[in-house]
Amino acid sequence: MRSQFRCSRDKNTPKGIVIRWLRKKDRDSAIRGEITRVYPRLWRYCVAICKSREDGGDLAQAACLRAIEKQDQFEPGTAFDKWIFTIAKRVWLNELRSQKVRRGSGLILVEDADLPDNKPSSETNIFAGEVLSEVMALPEAQRETVLLVYVEGFSYKDTAAILDIPIGTVMSRLAAARKTIASRFGEHGGVS
């Protein structure tokens, strides 16, 4: 079989394909640049969600690879961080979380997501700050919402989109989390 190899010097080189490829290449580098920029935040979020450095690192890595694979779906001009956080959430929910639960190291079952999470998290002592450790003790659903809004600075609307929940649910999770944290600080005589 003769291949396109012969075409290399011919006038009929598929120029359009080459141009598309180059554009794709530009796009690929742009996406990689964005990933590198957002990665520390994404990693922090993933470790906080998984409550494990190892799993969080895997999740962040998986989300980055997925973003490269799905880069055609990213709409230029929209917020890249929102897009990749959404990917991370989906990967966590659809793939890694269930694996983690299945292999017995899961911290929370899906149906327990609203229960307080009191399991130790020795691997995540990077979150040892006074307020942050209270956030880490929140149930997963509240924790991820608090992190997205108060740490990552996403709007309610973007947070709702990332988590695929109604805005009302974002608000109720934040209100519940605020109540818990305010009461704990009151009890422990912490920060006023």
Binding site: M1, Q4, F5, M171, A175, R178
Partner: protein, 239 residues
């Protein structure tokens, strides 16, 4: 607390604290706060030390490990397959590659540009083939018995195919070295003067070429020049 205030929920107050409350709700809450001190206690019960939380979170960023992403050409999804990369990579070679150095015959530069697009998966995903049957056909095409190159030291035969360069058949035989590195042996009948094995680096790949007076040969792949040189010598001896 008046009836109008009773319906203000903790969710509403949270939205107010977060600057997400619509204007009418915000005005209502501010009015309630100004008129009723007890109402302020509800806000206190939702207090979150936001500045401290953000400071503590910022420290965690410093722990983020270095990110390693796979090189662009390994990417296979998004409708951009390795096969497509190879096919259009030839065009790229023309469009953006620097002018070939004078030292090499033109075909070597083209082969090298093609080979440089090969990744492990390109070769390892090739279906197993009957080497002897393939080589018999290719031997006829190029006018040189290639049956011996099915077995080369350190190289696993993966595929032989006929390409073309300036109207002449160019045989490319793909191998995998150490199960990981794509290596190719290429043969073209071009009547170049006989010359001994010459080591070279083309497109960042280790390569060795030689000619027997009728055919020219190129062994190329990976970065291990001594492996390529040794294997080239073994191949020359077999041919």
């Amino acid at each position: 607390m008046t009836d109008t205030r009773r319906h203000i929920s903790d969710e509403d107050l949270t939205a107010y604290l977060d600057g997400e409350a619509p204007d009418d709700l915000r005005r209502e809450i501010e009015q309630a706060l100004s008129e009723d001190d007890a109402f302020g206690a509800r806000l206190s019960a939702l207090d979150l030390p936001l500045g401290q939380l953000q400071q503590e979170s910022a420290r965690a960023l410093q722990d983020a490990p270095a990110l390693t992403l796979p090189p662009a050409q390994i990417r296979r999804a998004g409708g951009f397959s390795v096969a497509a990369a190879l096919a259009i990579g030839i065009g790229i070679g023309v469009a953006i590659a620097p002018a070939p150095p004078e030292a090499n015959s033109g075909w070597i530069d083209y082969v090298a540009a093609y080979q440089a697009l090969y990744v492990q998966q390109t070769i390892s995903d090739m279906p197993p083939v009957e080497a002897s049957a393939q080589l018999a056909g290719l031997s006829d095409v190029v006018g040189r018995d290639l049956s011996q190159v099915a077995q080369l030291p350190g190289l696993e035969y993966r595929r032989g195919q006929e390409l073309g360069f300036k109207g002449k058949p160019l045989i490319q035989i793909a191998y995998l070295a150490n199960g990981t590195t794509p290596v190719a042996l290429c043969v073209i009948e071009n009547g170049k003067a006989e010359h001994a094995i010459k080591s070279m680096e083309v497109e960042g790949l280790a390569a060795a070429s030689w000619s027997d007076g009728t055919h020219s040969y190129l062994l190329i792949g990976g970065q291990d020049q001594s492996f390529i040189d040794t294997t080239a010598a073994a191949t020359q001896a077999l041919l």
